[in-house]
Symmetry: C2
Subunit: 208 residues, 2 copies
DNA sequence: CGCTAATGTAGAACAAGTTACAGACTTGAT
DNA sequence: ATCAAGTCTGTAACTTGTTCTACATTAGCG
């Protein structure tokens, strides 16, 4: 509402110089690399700084906390995934199938780097109010991916709610899998289950 | 695989003496009290120990980490809630309504102590493999509460999956509310949305 | 070019979770 | 009542996220 929230909006980013862009990238890469090795605990700020060839204070200037860093890492990875998914859109006939397919594809991608996934998702759910804007960005990205798969241009409120529920399920199921409390098969079933909600919101087949 | 994992199984609880039971209770109470004040960060192990009148080492003997402590605190609070809910079962006509009503009731209870809720839920989702058994206990408790509300004695696999999805949504929605990224109204809608999954699994009305 | 503010560096210092340890206290069996 | 084993206590040390400080480098600008 304030003038600032209209003008600055999200990228309150006074454009970075080339070297700064490079530093940021080195940091994110180091973060992902360490995370892929040993998960959340292995992403130690001193190590990230050293691996990125940057002073600790600088690291903190770019990412004000470990959580911020890992959430940004997740943002980064999600971008990749989104573009990858766009290249080969899901083939299912109805929206629910396509969404389930997309999510399972994403899931399998994460399976390849379970430690990285662990670090990112744990950071995401542990994030407190101070990280809300960044977490929100991740959430919007995820929403975009799901809506893409649904093929919903102008989602109704009911559809948006369904998408939120799917996101909830996605994150939470991921966590239970990562902490070894659910099998992949179970995750698959749950994803498919929650995707049936999409059918309930489809305006196109008023067959009831 | 070892003899121990077969014999000890879960309740590796060599029954506690009275004084030990009392200590455990003091610790859990102190934990809840501190959490209610300042959330996750305010639950500092040294403070919990002091407030409970116990040495730091003892605290760690009872609860091997802060996460264990907070998950146990959540277990404790859930017990309360379960017995409270049993006293006044939800009144809705169909299962979906009853579950939604129950969850919103629980939600309003948590609203009264948002900081406590924050501490418990953050601990729950942050828990790693080492806390799986305890987290699983919480999960089973939640499942029991939901099944109670459904009135499902012999849930089918499809129903169990729906319940898991509802749990996922419940936790995740709670988190987004606690971190200020969703309103109570939105949580309510999402809970109601996900509860419609129950209708899809009801074996009693094969009206399709 | 030369100045100034912003940015980066190195390293110390601090905070809170966790571990380690030496000595006192309990408990349960004899 | 006594002894051994197991618990507790008090306290210090260690780890890792975070903050702070003093100095060096860089970038933009006149």
């Amino acid at each position: 509402m304030t003038a600032e929230s209209r003008a600055d909006h999200r990228p309150a980013t006074p454009p970075l110089t080339e070297r700064q862009e490079a530093r940021r990238r080195r940091i994110l890469d180091a973060s992902a690399r360490l995370a892929a090795r040993g998960g959340f605990d292995a992403v130690q700020m001193r190590e990230v700084a050293e691996a990125a060839g940057v002073a600790l204070g600088t690291l903190y200037r770019y990412f004000p906390s470990k959580i911020h860093l890992l959430v940004a890492t997740m943002q980064d990875q999600l971008q990749h995934m989104h573009t990858t998914l766009r290249k080969r859109p899901p083939a299912g006939a109805d929206p629910a199938t396509r969404v389930a397919e997309t999510l399972m594809r994403a899931f399998r991608a994460l399976q390849r780097e379970p430690q990285l996934a662990d670090a990112m998702v744990r950071a995401l759910t542990f994030a407190d109010r101070g990280v809300s804007p960044e977490v929100d960005t991740v959430s919007r990205l995820t929403t975009a991916i799901i809506l893409d798969a649904m093929g919903a241009e102008q989602p109704t409120p009911a559809q948006l709610s369904a998408v939120r529920v799917i996101e909830h399920t996605w994150h939470s199921a991921l966590i239970t899998w990562l902490s070894g409390r659910a099998s992949i098969a179970q995750v698959k079933i749950d994803i498919e289950t929650v995707c049936r909600l999409i059918d309930l919101t489809a305006p196109e087949r008023p067959h009831r």
